[in-house]
Amino acid sequence: MKELICIVCPRGCHLTVDENNGYAVTGNFCKRGEVYGKAEVTAPVRVVTSTVAIHRASAKTAPDAAGGIEARCPVKTSDAIPKHLVLDAMQQIYAASVDLPVHIGDVVIHGICGTGADLVATKDILA
């Protein structure tokens, strides 16, 4: 038996999923909770968002105190990846960096952790 909270709507039903009984879901107020509960126990996935280092040619590396120019480029996985691979993905993300300019959707890591998902930039940073 696995207990979890449904995140599909703000009601937040407390679900129980029975692995030994065809992943039967109880505690759900509506059908959507059943679908979520089953998927969350059988194959949980997450989108990973983080940042990578930026290579800047000029000396303009210092982040500005006013909150403007960034030292990091935000990234995400283009699809949700299996939850058990999230920490492995972070190891690859720590080691990655981008050259400027970078645009939204530019691939930073192809097929992260052997999944079909890429790590892509989520911000246009020109200089």
């Binding site: 979890l4 909270i5 449904c6 995140i7 709507c9 703000p10 009601r11 937040g12 039903c13 407390h14 997450r46 989108v47 990973v48 968002t49 983080s50 940042t51 280092a53 982040p63 500005d64 006013a66 909150g67 403007g68 120019i69 960034e70 030292a71 990091r72 935000p74 995400k76 939850k83 999230v86 920490l87 972070m90 939204i104 989520t122 911000k123 246009d124």
Partner: protein
């Protein structure tokens, strides 16, 4: 002379400027005090933005970029690194920047979109020493996501608002140990989705009905003490202390609309929202000055910020192109039964087009309930809600014909039909 000056270049300001240009205003200026447009979204690198507006799950910077691109495709003027200092009743906007120096620009209309800032420690008065290592969660978010610094290694978070929850996950992924998330209320003010994906995924305990009662450390935080509180009085219960050895305490204890400019301009503020009083068209008590986004009331979803900004922009365009709408018959919007505030607070029924959308929050968890709109004692419309939590802003849309010709005040009342599930919000301790 500008047609419109927008103060603040976050999602509210960006959407307002684009919409005003579309509605026929020609000379539009956005003034933004930081070096880039996008506001708080620049540091919100997580996903979950735009589900309502774009029907897509975007990260904060991606959501902002959609509107920045739209602004760049127009002749809207943008001044970044420029801070608005003062707004005077003749609609002169006083601003200063390193490149332009001091400028006073005249405009026919103004949209206030300054966003909000975090409540800091001073607002809370936690006993103990005053070491380094106490940050607001949003400041920590900027250090990690934009500047690339870690605020600490062993972390306790006070407050379970969404920013605190998001930072618990973020700091864990970056290699810190988040020891606990501590919440004064018996329920979390954050979204369930964030409790599951930010705390439960990483086995970070959530202490509901607890608070930080002491901070210890010489030059740097060394320990925080957490105690359980009485749910009614919120007083710490002696003997329930838990000590956490840590180097950092993050505060995620709420946001306050940033309204110094508004107050100094003499615009009336609502003590409940800490934002301006507005009419149905987002106009403040100063004709031709409109407000939207987090500066008006704290929003949890950026999609609603965008829509509110668009309404403010349509009204600013009408004000400039057609003149001030009639304010002869004004009705108040009152609250009852657990509704804590409404936006708008006042309505002129004859100015309504199809409907008026009233936004509000409730003060506790509601099970199956009804939102009742009343004119005087007469119920004019009932809205069914399966479930409501204080952390989620609610809204109802009232058709204009139901308010036509009335002189009675409108009341928005929340009524529970059944009790809420008693265990709601009680999440893994």
């Amino acid at each position: 002379m500008y047609d419109l000056i927008v103060v603040g270049g976050g999602p509210a300001g960006l959407a307002a400027a684009v919409k005003a240009r579309e509605c026929g205003l020609k000379k539009v200026l956005i003034v933004e005090r930081s070096l880039q447009l996008g506001g708080i979204l620049n540091q919100c690198i997580h996903n979950g933005f735009g589900l309502t507006y774009f029907k897509e799950e975007l990260t904060g910077p991606e959501y902002a970029a959609r509107f920045i691109k739209q602004v760049e495709g127009t002749d809207i003027e943008v001044r970044t690194d420029t801070m608005v200092l003062d707004i005077t009743p003749d609609k002169t906007v006083h601003m200063v920047s390193p490149t332009l120096g001091y400028r006073a620009e005249q405009t026919k209309s103004i949209i206030l979109a300054m966003g909000c800032r975090e409540r800091a420690r001073g607002a809370l008065s936690i006993p103990g020493t005053r070491p380094a290592g106490v940050y607001t969660a949003g400041a920590a978010q900027k250090y990690v996501n934009i500047d690339g610094y870690m605020p600490g290694r062993r972390i306790v978070i006070l407050g379970s608002g969404d920013i605190g929850l998001i930072m618990a996950r973020r700091l864990t992924l970056e290699g810190a140990k988040v020891l606990a998330c501590v919440e004064l209320n018996p329920y979390s003010s954050g979204l369930n989705r964030n409790i599951v994906q930010c705390l439960n995924d990483f086995n970070i305990p959530l202490y509901l009905s607890h608070t930080v009662t002491n901070i210890q450390g010489e030059s740097r935080v060394e320990k925080v003490v957490v105690s359980q509180v009485d749910d009614r009085t919120k007083a710490p219960i002696p003997g329930t202390e838990i000590e956490f050895e840590c180097d950092t305490l993050l505060l995620s204890v709420g946001l306050i609309p940033e309204n110094e400019l508004t107050r100094d301009a003499g615009i009336a503020l609502d003590p409940r929202t800490k934002g301006a009083f507005v009419y149905e068209n987002m106009e403040t008590s100063m004709p031709g000055v409109f407000a939207c986004g987090n500066v008006l009331h704290v929003h949890d979803l950026v999609d609603f910020v965008t829509q509110e900004a668009q309404r403010a922009a349509e009204a600013a365009a009408e004000y400039v192109l057609k003149g001030q709408p009639s304010r002869e018959n004004i009705i108040d919007v009152r609250t009852a039964g657990g509704v804590t505030y409404t936006v708008p607070q006042q309505i002129c029924p004859e100015n309504l087009k199809d409907e008026v959308r009233v936004f509000f929050r409730i003060n506790r968890v509601f099970g199956k309930s009804e939102i009742v709109a009343k004119l005087g004692d007469k119920e004019i419309k009932v809205f069914k809600k399966p479930f409501m939590i204080p952390g989620e802003m609610q809204n109802v849309s009232i058709p204009a014909e139901l308010l036509a010709g009335t002189h009675e005040d409108l009341t928005i009342e929340a009524r529970e039909v059944t009790e809420p599930a008693a265990d709601n919000g009680e999440v893994a301790k």
